[in-house]
């Protein structure tokens, strides 16, 4: 119990303060408070409550079914260009906010994916998910979207390589949380 409290020492006060704030806002009919709750918080909560449990179930299933050797062989240290393309493909087909990608990154790393590929996965996930691209093309046009993706891909492969080097050099690890 004590350990749990310590682990979330910033989170619990924020959550409690927010509950109080929303409660008081509703009691006194304070509009900005209600707006923050309904327009913003509720929208994020809905997204999170629908997508994240699904993500975590997939992660759990992946964890028990896919053997480490397989992951290592295809996206591990020696996987080269094929590995990069595979992690990018994996990221393309996903949906959800950035924070949904971190647990996947942990699992990939645990199963033997190279750090460089983990970071390339993260960047691809953030900038080029197909469900998101349909929105982008709809609102900003195909030309904008294609140009942005083509320029972004080399940039985040480079970021992946730099991060991968840093990660290995400093013996970093990814935690399960």
């Amino acid at each position: 119990m004590k350990r749990t409290l310590k682990k979330y020492k910033f989170d619990f006060p924020i959550i409690i303060a927010f509950i109080l704030f929303v409660g008081i806002s509703y009691y006194f009919n304070y509009h900005p408070g209600k707006q923050i709750f309904i327009d913003n918080f509720w929208m994020f909560l809905k997204e999170m409550i629908i997508i994240l449990p699904v993500m975590f179930i997939l992660i759990g299933l992946f964890d028990v079914w896919i053997p480490k050797e397989k992951v290592q062989k295809h996206i591990g240290e020696t996987s080269g260009l094929k590995g990069i393309l595979l992690v990018m493909l994996l990221a393309f087909i996903q949906a959800g906010p950035l924070y949904a990608a971190f647990p996947v990154a942990y699992l990939l790393w645990k199963k033997g994916c190279s750090p460089t590929n983990v970071f390339i996965y993260l960047s691809t996930f953030t900038t080029a998910k197909i469900p998101m691209l349909t929105f982008e093309i709809g609102f900003l046009g195909l030309k904008f979207s294609l140009m942005r993706i083509l320029i972004t891909i080399p940039v985040f492969i480079l970021i992946g390589i730099i991060m991968g080097r840093y990660f290995k050099k400093n013996n970093c690890k990814i935690n399960e949380v």
Binding site: Q35, M43, L61, D63, V64, Y99, F135, V177
Partner: protein
């Protein structure tokens, strides 16, 4: 999103038929991870909700519009790095901004930082990667986003 749910349900059913013990172990593992990160997630979306309240469409038009000049890029990068918006909100908003006279290259910087840099989600990222790695990744992504925006601006200038 619907497809993802259908795929997950399908896979879970197949997995249950093949090996129910293994499946339950996997689902339990996944759900435990979800519960562990939940308090941090909640507090982060609370903070984002409050910050977003102060960033209105009008404010964006003012800071990202033509009158802002080169400063528009700085504002786009700063606002994009701090906020976190799901795609179904960010793109319609970007569409409105374009119509109100914001240039495509400013929007490129805004969208790229919005996606790649998450200052407010650093607490979550740090739980997985450690604070230092999280900060370095966000800094690199920030520079990368600026680079992407600059190249986009140059191309839009040429065509």
């Amino acid at each position: 999103m619907m497809t993802m749910i259908i795929i997950t349900v399908g896979l879970t059913l197949i997995s249950l038929i093949v090996d129910s013990k293994k499946t339950i172990k996997g689902i339990k593992k996944g759900m435990m991870q979800f519960l562990k990160i939940l308090p941090t997630l909640l507090s982060v979306i609370i903070i984002i909700s409050v910050v977003l309240f102060f960033i209105s469409d009008d404010l964006l038009k003012e800071y990202l519009g033509k009158e802002a000049g080169a400063l528009a890029y700085v504002s786009a990068a700063a606002i994009g790095s701090v906020s976190l918006l799901p795609g179904f909100i960010a793109y319609p908003l970007a569409g409105i901004l374009i119509k109100s006279g914001v240039s495509y290259s400013v929007i490129a910087v805004f969208i790229t930082t919005l996606m790649m840099v998450g200052i407010l989600t650093i607490p979550i990222e740090a739980k997985y990667f450690g604070l230092k790695t999280a900060i370095i990744r966000n800094t690199l992504s920030f520079l990368g986003a600026i680079l992407v925006g600059t190249v986009m601006a140059f191309i839009y200038y040429l065509i």
